[in-house]
Subunit: 228 residues, 2 copies
DNA sequence: TGAAAAGCTGATCACAGAATCAGAAATTCT
DNA sequence: AGAATTTCTGATTCTGTGATCAGCTTTTCA
């Protein structure tokens, strides 16, 4: 039940507090199990309220889902803010930073990656909603960065939209297929060490490629950490 | 309702025919919607039989799921066979071929990638089953190839298991996040042209990296097609 | 050809989960 | 304090879904 820092200073009333708690729990469950496997009773239980309370605050299950998703808006805004600080850097640097940020943020807020993967695969109305309200702007901005990086001759001239989704899909896939990693190789990526190794692998793998440059020596790239 | 070529020569009886049809439809629906969103009634409807028939042939929903999944065994066997033909080639070549095969096969049998993604993300009993009965051997074989390729100094020395899952996740993610691609950029990867471009992007992107080598000229790699 | 087995169905049951509602309890407002 | 409003609940309804079963039809086979 660790709650995120809601930046509001207003001392929210009782109703708003339980509503917020419900939203958090709902976000967690929705992202973990997917829409269908989540039950109103389950959320109510975890939140320590009656099922009817959920309906009182949010109407129906769909509306609760949307309310919960808006909790991710903060997360994305956080990424935007950190990225905006580097807006004068070369496009390729910003791109790399964006991917690193996404991985780090996905680590801090696992719901983000899981939701993108789950709904991105399912398609349908919920994906459309997510895109309109949460992801669309970010994706368009990334595509613009890719275009600039290609113009700068820093990226190979693949179709920019596909590059964005490739980067995104790679990251999302890797974040979410952890169970596969665990089941197959007994590796636990849920440790600080494992996580860092994973990040490096993803970033270097995607950007610089897995192949050596022929000499057997891994060329060290600019992987400097984003300052916090 | 285009049915795949069941290689059996025995002129299967009526019961086996409908059972096979049910399995096919079930595989399609399970991979598309995930276990929970699939209903027995839906499958029965699509197969043109009564719901009770499903239970007659397969017992319960879980058993039907497993029966349907075994349909993928052929697909994986097909990959194995094509790959075995190149077992004397360098490990890195085999790896690249394996990835290309996986992409091509996933195109021909979309259920494979979707299932791996869906269940790989969900974890749980069904993933364990899949791993034991379908994917485990393949993954271990890929890991061995990666190890050899690293020993040959062809791949950077990342942890082999993570490399496998990275490759797999990248491919799976890209195959399955098509709706995301479509929603965001209006690109339709479901065309021969789009598909090929996609394959190249994934393979070159993952293996050689998205970055140019500094000269702005894309180094052409051995992307020769597997003969059929 | 006739009996046995296999294939299949409509009807029905049991149950989980979403949604509703009247009213109790708590909070806010004047 | 007392009214009004908000917050919350237990009980209930309703719908969708998995599963069962008795019996009809078709196929198999001796």
């Amino acid at each position: 039940m660790a709650l995120s820092s809601t930046a509001t200073v207003v001392p929210l009333g009782k109703g708003e507090r339980t509503a917020a708690r419900i939203r958090e729990i709902a976000l967690d469950q929705f992202s973990r199990l997917g829409f269908e496997r989540v039950t109103m009773a389950g959320i109510a239980d975890a939140a320590g309220v009656s099922q009817a309370t959920l309906h009182h605050h949010f109407g129906d299950k769909d509306q609760l889902w949307r309310a919960a998703m808006l909790g991710l808006a903060n997360v994305i805004a956080e990424e935007e803010r950190l990225l905006a600080a580097a807006q004068d850097a070369p496009a390729i640097t910003q791109l790399r930073m964006a991917m690193r940020l996404f991985l780090q943020i996905s680590w801090k807020h696992p719901a983000l990656g899981r939701i993108v993967a789950l709904e991105g695969m399912a398609g349908g109305e919920r994906l459309a909603w997510l895109n309109e309200h949460l992801l669309g702007g970010r994706n368009r901005r990334l595509a613009a960065l890719v275009r600039r990086a290609i113009a700068d001759r820093e990226l190979k001239p693949f179709p920019p939209e596909q590059v964005v989704v490739t980067l995104q899909a790679g990251a999302v896939g890797i974040i979410n297929l952890r169970p596969l990693l665990q089941v197959n190789f007994g590796v636990d990526p849920d440790t600080p060490r494992g996580r860092t190794a994973h990040e490096e692998l993803v970033l270097d793998g995607l950007f610089a490629g897995l192949l050596t440059d022929g000499t057997g020596v891994k060329k060290k790239l600019g992987t400097r950490r984003t300052r916090r």
